[in-house]
């Protein structure tokens, strides 16, 4: 009986369930030539044989299934970009295995390229000196999009991202927000199964950010495009990602649902009350964590006490002018993880 069960697990009927992206024990080391200083340092560095070995990614494993929208987070230098570069085939892993749609990205770089869209917020895939329209044309040619199909998709993307007015402007003249829209559109023209977004909202204003977020949510929901999002803007993550993978020092610290991370490391709410006359507030089940004149902040475990109970207790003891309940911010949790360079003790 147990034999047949394990046999069923191995059957190819499983194929549909197989993850789109699979990283297993990924390691990437860089050899950095030690710089030679002094006269002709640059030239001598060229012939130097002294290396420092830097391990940027250290045993990273995760699976990503079709249709997921995953936030890949970590502080600067955590190894995020290096991981993404291995997934895109730009870098070859030092050890471990990576597959995207059952292909080894670095061995089958060109075939893999057709499956993936890559958008770097800090770099553009568009042709800088030419009108945006030319970049779209070149992308369609490079990825072999049939003419009619390409026209239809381009038209749709131009409408969706409101790019009509700058389609004929050289890319170098576009604002950052316009350029980002152009970059993301270029990546979606050939409808890749997987879209990597590396800091797509960096440097954008509030409106431009929101527009990009809405578009990402749209392609994920409507097209079923799998999205891996790397960002330092945690509002991107709060609005878009159900799952996050958190890494630091090249290791995975957390991989799971966003809500679970919050429940585990920030299972509290803050009640902010403005009192008629300044006073300290002592209520069962809540702790006063701050007071600024008549404004008192109380923190309580939302999994143990209900907000109305705390509010009831406060209003029974004090005259309350105003009150609000604040959700914990992901920023506070992530900030704590980054500074401790590890997962905090669960406050349970």
């Amino acid at each position: 009986m147990s034999l047949s069960v394990s046999a069923v697990d191995d059957l190819p009927s499983d194929a549909a369930q197989r993850p789109l992206v699979r990283a297993a024990g990924l390691v990437k080391e860089f050899r950095r030539v030690k710089r030679v200083s002094g006269r002709l340092g640059g030239l001598r560095t060229l012939f130097s044989r002294d290396y420092d070995v830097i391990r940027a990614v250290n045993d990273v494993s995760f699976d990503i299934h079709s249709g997921e929208l995953v936030g890949y987070l970590g502080p600067n230098g955590a190894g995020k970009s290096t991981t993404i570069k291995m997934l895109t085939g730009i870098l070859t892993p030092t050890a471990g295995a990576v597959s995207v749609a059952d292909r080894d990205p670095s061995r089958e770089r060109k075939a893999n390229a057709l499956n993936i869209g890559v958008v770097f917020g800090q770099r553009s895939q568009l042709w800088w000196d030419l009108p945006l329209r030319e970049s779209f044309r070149a992308v369609r040619d490079l990825y072999g999009v049939p003419t009619m199909e390409g026209d239809r998709r381009q038209h749709e993307l131009v409408k969706l991202l409101d790019m009509d007015e700058f389609l004929d402007a050289p890319v170098r003249q576009l604002s950052l927000g316009q350029r980002m829209r152009g970059d993301i559109a270029a990546a979606m023209l050939y409808q890749p199964r997987l879209l990597y977004l590396d800091e797509p909202t960096v440097g954008l204003d509030v409106v431009a950010k929101q527009r990009i977020r809405e578009f990402i949510a749209h392609v994920n929901a409507e097209r079923g495009t799998t999205v891996v999002l790397t960002t330092h803007d945690l509002e991107d993550v709060e609005q878009l990602c159900r799952r996050i993978v958190l890494i630091d020092h090249g290791r995975v610290l957390y991989d799971g649902a966003l809500t679970e991370l919050m429940a585990r490391y920030a299972p509290y709410r803050d009640l902010v009350v403005t009192l008629a006359s300044p006073a300290d507030v002592a209520v069962n089940g809540a702790e006063q964590i701050g007071r600024d004149g008549p404004v008192v902040t109380l923190r309580f475990r939302s999994d143990r006490v209900k907000a109305p109970e705390i509010i009831g207790a406060v209003t029974a003891a004090h005259e309350v002018v105003d009150l609000s309940v604040a959700e914990p911010r992901l920023e506070a949790v992530i900030g704590r993880i980054y500074t401790q360079r590890g997962l905090p003790e669960s406050p349970a």
Partner: protein, 265 residues
């Protein structure tokens, strides 16, 4: 079919990009016209002090050589602004590697586009040459055909030299001035400024051992009916350089692939 479409799209990019800087393109044409006119003046002045040919070359050939060599070098020996070198420096090479086309194919296609974009320079150079009465048509049709064959091979050699040079930027990113030094060596050793036949023997020997002359000097020497070592061996040498340079490019790229450094990020 797919590959043709991919390559043509990159040729188009290479062709449109320099024309995004129209003023700079037109200025380079003007510079070419000036150079052609000045060289013709200078050669005539030099020959005025001599009676008869120098190094077996008469004044008309010397001036004609200058007209052709400056024109050919301007069109063929381009240095694309968006070469691998600048893309490595800006970290954009990472973007190129996410494309479903090989880096060498892509680069060569873009370079070829630059050559196409620079073609009007041929009309400018030759037009100026005719205006200063510095150029005579080749003696007969078979000479014209020979010139065309050698010019086509020169195109291959020059594009591979450009590609090879930009591939070295994977290693020489930190060394300043390499590009400039290369430009000087290439311009001089290709015979774009001074024909090889005016060079002292030892310098000629060096120039002949390098690939640069196959990209400019050879087709023009063919044009004037004095191909080095005869037409067949001159053209054979060009073909040999294409094979060697292709091999070098492939080898360098395979080495570079192992140590692709994407700057920053």
């Amino acid at each position: 079919m797919t590959l043709v479409r991919q390559v043509l799209s990159q040729v188009r990019i290479g062709c449109l990009t320099p024309w995004a800087y129209r003023a700079s393109m037109l200025l380079s044409f003007l510079v070419l016209a000036l150079q052609v006119a000045l060289f013709s003046v200078v050669w005539r002045a030099i020959y005025a002090g001599h009676s008869g040919p120098v190094a077996g070359v008469d004044v008309d050939t010397a001036v004609g050589y200058a007209v052709l060599s400056l024109t050919v070098a301007t069109v063929l020996n381009t240095s694309p602004y968006s070469s691998i070198e600048s893309r490595v420096r800006d970290g954009l090479i990472g973007v190129d590697l996410t494309r479903p086309i090989g880096l060498l194919t892509q680069s060569l296609a873009v370079q070829a586009g630059y050559v196409v974009a620079t073609l009007p320079a041929a009309a400018v150079g030759l037009g100026t040459g005719l205006a200063v009465r510095g150029l005579a048509p080749p003696p007969d049709v078979s000479d014209t055909v020979r010139f065309a064959v050698s010019l086509l091979l020169a195109f291959g050699v020059s594009q591979l030299i450009t590609l090879l040079m930009s591939l070295t930027s994977f290693w020489t990113l930190e060394v300043g001035g390499v590009g400039m030094a290369f430009f000087v060596v290439r311009t001089f050793m290709s015979g774009a400024v001074v024909p090889l036949w005016f060079m002292p023997d030892w310098l000629q020997a060096i120039a002949v051992a390098l690939p640069f002359q196959a990209s400019t000097y050879t087709p023009i020497a063919v044009y004037f009916g004095r191909p080095p070592g005869g037409f067949v061996s001159a053209v054979g040498l060009q073909a040999l350089w294409i094979v060697i340079l292709t091999g070098l490019c492939l080898w360098l790229w395979s080495r570079a692939k192992h140590r692709v450094v994407v700057q920053g990020g």
